[in-house]
Symmetry: C2
Subunit: 227 residues, 2 copies
DNA sequence: TATTTACACATTGTATACAATATACCGTAT
DNA sequence: ATACGGTATATTGTATACAATGTGTAAATA
């Protein structure tokens, strides 16, 4: 709460948004597990706010597909099934292909320079073997592509889809065997965009997502077996 | 409220969902105009509920992009700019292409039969010249394709995007000059899916959306000029 | 002993009360 | 006359109170 009051000075941020971010983070990192119930009073006490902001945050999580509502029973963390995840990936693939295609057409010199730098940062992050750093650098790289495609709506949608697989992608990134492949794929995407070669770019991003898809589905199978 | 209490007997539906649907309808039909403020007490009195369901409905409208929140000032109906609409259409085109592609691969005989029937219904609706009937028949036709593509997530996203242009699409449908074209385009999509011809299907849907895009953007220009 | 019913408790759904803040209008001073 | 400031009001943000409902447990009866 103290941080909140402090941030309040520059930009007012409703509690519901803070709660939303907090809960989303908890779900994506696995702190809140699939099937777990989100009980309002409990969360309100834990976060030191009333039920109202909690409820409003849950409404948003519901529309993002992170929780499901059972009438008169409240919210619970959405179960992620294999079908569910492949549905999401199917859409994500199409939107990622669109975004690199648009990036090829619309990227400007300054953005190309930043994309180059982001690629180098990613290379360095991989060298550290620190999964968290790698994940962050990966997000930065892709964010520049989204920015370059000049369609905020598209960016927002892809981001939302990507979020839903964060938890599993992290496991994927932790495996050092795929690091070299990841760098190569990024390199390929970078080159294609710089050359403004749409064919090559869509092919590269396709391979990139397809690799992740296989790993994520495999990871999902493991976790679902354990439970 | 009476309808609500009645429906309550079979399936409980929270007030927030009713309010959500009501407000969304009002925005999409233009009853609530872009820039108009959504004042909670006012809406609460008008709909005969308290502020709580109103607020929760507004949270959902916010995530659907139909309203924007101004801190400490509340919600207002989102302004739809030309850029905004072409951004949405850009994404919609990609997702519609994906959905017909998947439909070609996955549609079953029973769904083909219903799609045929939906096409005939659309033909008949056009003959009546009743814009409302045409719009409904159009939605039915496309809904079967979404169902056939077997990806509920995709359907939901396309539906959400399509919703945002309902208001303008309606003006488009009212023009009798384009009716023949509309029927032909539907025919082309139907044939392509029945033949499971992905190339033809994506091309057809592309043309279909592109036509709508031109009309919608033109309509948008007219309305924005008036204001 | 098993089953059914009733009651208590936990939890969501809804309404209202209270707090903080922005805006508009009016008065005063320069 | 205009500009600045203060106060009143309208509105959102947050908290709490009340209502409805589902669930679990215990007791009573077959």
């Amino acid at each position: 709460m103290e941080d909140y009051m402090q941030a309040n000075l520059d930009a007012f941020l409703p509690l519901r948004d803070l709660v939303f971010k907090t809960l989303r983070q908890a779900i994506l990192t696995g702190e809140l597990k699939p099937g777990e119930r989100l009980m309002e009073i409990h969360l309100a006490n834990k976060l030191g706010v009333s039920r109202t902001p909690i409820r409003e945050a849950i409404r948003q999580l519901e529309l993002e597909g992170l929780v499901i509502m059972v009438p008169r029973k409240g919210a619970q963390v959405a179960h992620i099934t294999e079908k569910n995840m492949s549905d999401v990936l199917e859409v994500r693939l199409a939107l990622d292909e669109l975004s690199v295609k648009l990036a090829c057409e619309r990227i400007n010199d300054e953005q190309i320079e930043r994309l180059r730098q982001a690629y180098l940062d990613f290379e360095n992050a991989v060298k550290t073997q620190d999964a968290r750093k790698i994940a962050t650098a990966d997000v930065c790289f892709h964010d520049i592509i989204f920015e370059a495609c000049g369609n905020p709506r598209l960016s927002q949608m892809v981001n939302n889809l990507a979020e839903q697989m964060y938890r599993y992608r992290f496991e994927y990134i932790k495996d050092p065997h795929i690091h070299a492949t990841l760098v190569m794929e990024h390199r390929s995407i970078l080159d294609a965009i710089v050359e403004r070669n749409i064919e090559k770019a869509t092919q590269s991003i396709h391979d990139h997502i397809a690799h992740q898809e296989r790993a994520i589905i495999a990871q999902l199978r493991v976790e679902n077996r354990v439970e």
